[in-house]
Symmetry: C2
Subunit: 298 residues, 2 copies
């Protein structure tokens, strides 16, 4: 029978691209992984890797083997989750990936609740980019993702990674200072805007909203820190489109009005299907739901 640890090494190679990177991720030296793979290839009886330049790439047989390895790891994860559920074991580490803008208030609140209700659970929060977050969750780097989705801007979908909505969050126009009297986006064609940095879904949505209203926004400030947005709006230096959760939790010393058409972002969680039974993961998710309020889904 093939050695599962060696298969994991192969899987890591497939994910990282080089033996050196895989070894680093596994906490071994490159030599160790090289030997593991050589042994695996001997057992397999067919070439699994071929040298390509100064690196290696997987053969089709290697790719298939990696796919099977994933299946086995999925099953392994289910088995472990069942054991933890059996133990009543509300313990263990949950690796949580969040986007800055997505749920700062949600996550901090949930962490505080969890610290009291389930002290055995250790949550490691990592801020990351949406694209990586899903890929790395699929690759078992994270166990849970808190992400957001804007209208007409769907997040990437990975097989085996399931998502469940947390809260649908109204998008609000926040105006202060000289623009405090504005009642719609259309009246803010000449305003200074604060938005997130380019390339994010949030930024894209805000820009599109302005364009639909008939103008190209004058983005004077770009920051991924929503607290900064609030500050700028309160001082009348800029106007912004902010998520409702941000306004509710943090409060804001400025006028907020709903956007036309009442668009909403969807904040949702994502996790591997094979880890959805893990009681620790479930507990973290439940805590997030409670933070989201009784209106939250399922």
């Amino acid at each position: 029978m093939l050695d599962l640890t060696r298969l994991v090494a192969l899987r890591e190679l497939a994910l990282r691209g080089t033996i050196a990177a895989a070894a680093d991720a596994l906490g071994y030296t490159a030599s160790a992984v090289s030997q593991q793979l050589a042994a695996l290839e001997r057992e397999a009886g067919v070439p699994l890797t071929i040298r390509a330049g100064r690196g290696v790439v997987l053969t089709p047989a290697g790719e298939r083997l990696v796919a099977r390895t994933h299946e086995m790891l999925d099953t392994m994860e289910v088995a472990e989750a069942e054991l933890r559920a059996e133990a009543g074991g509300l313990s263990g580490t949950v690796r949580l990936a969040v986007f800055q803008s997505a749920a700062l208030t949600l996550v901090t609140g949930a962490l505080i609740d969890l610290r009291d209700s389930h002290p055995g659970i250790r949550v490691v929060v990592t801020q990351t980019e949406p694209e990586e977050a899903f890929a790395d969750t699929w690759a078992r780097e994270y166990d849970l993702v808190v992400a957001e989705e804007y209208p007409h801007h769907s997040a990437p979908h990975y097989p085996g990674v399931i998502r469940r909505p947390l809260v649908r969050d109204a998008l609000l126009l926040a105006v202060g200072g000289e623009w405090a009297g504005a009642a719609s986006v259309a009246e803010l064609a000449d305003a200074a805007w604060v938005m997130e940095p380019p390339g994010t879904a949030t930024r894209h949505f805000a820009e599109q909203t302005c364009r639909v209203a008939g103008f190209e926004p004058d983005v004077r400030f770009a920051s991924s820190d929503l607290q900064a947005h609030v500050q700028l709006v309160e001082r009348g230096l800029a106007v912004a489109i902010l998520p409702g959760l941000m306004v509710e939790h943090a409060g804001i010393g400025a006028r907020v009005i709903p956007l036309e058409g009442g668009p909403r972002r969807t904040v949702f969680t994502a996790m591997r299907a094979s880890s959805r039974l893990d009681p620790a993961v479930q507990a973290v998710r439940t805590a997030l739901e409670e933070q989201a309020g009784p209106s939250a889904g399922s």
Copy 2:
């Protein structure tokens, strides 16, 4: 992550009932397996076994874990089969279980063909009882089973073990000596019969056939060796119901006539679904099909 070899040890314990037997099956000492299971239990965090008398039984958590282990082993088997297929590797060992009565001629013929066409394949043939054969195939003791099924007498069905028909084989009445003139079962109420030992499907079918014809057969000889049946019939000492394959291949110096209603037994192969892609298993099955004749299924 849980250690797969230890999970296999747990699985073997679940199958065999005692640590000693599991150790024996795995080729280890009982002490080694005991230590493996202790380590596994430590990793799992929940009790997997409890002492019961002088043995041990699995806890529900242990049973669940064994079920997951089976899933992983299934995937592992598929992975290995894919590798062998990739290698074009018509090699390896196929463990074949047959029932004496089922397909003696079929199997011997197939083995001869295989020896020439695929010398790399090593076939280990074991004669066994139907009930064990399926259970042991499910438990990975055998890779392929050649079995038979009589009308109104279905063989046990195991999940994950698939079956494919090989040949539908007419059941014939073989008469010699003083009974050579008989044309139907009903005329043989006073004849001496040779049948298989009680408890087999074949025996049950033969008895039922006689009862339907209106008499309880006088079973003077019981043997699981069909060659002995042929001998007895040829010498006129008894009459018998014999499968068509037996008559065709071996020839018989007596009159054979079809049974009323043309009942047939079905000879079929069974194997784990996860091993159906193994080229060696497929080759053995193909060889059996060719023996069964061009009329054979699929």
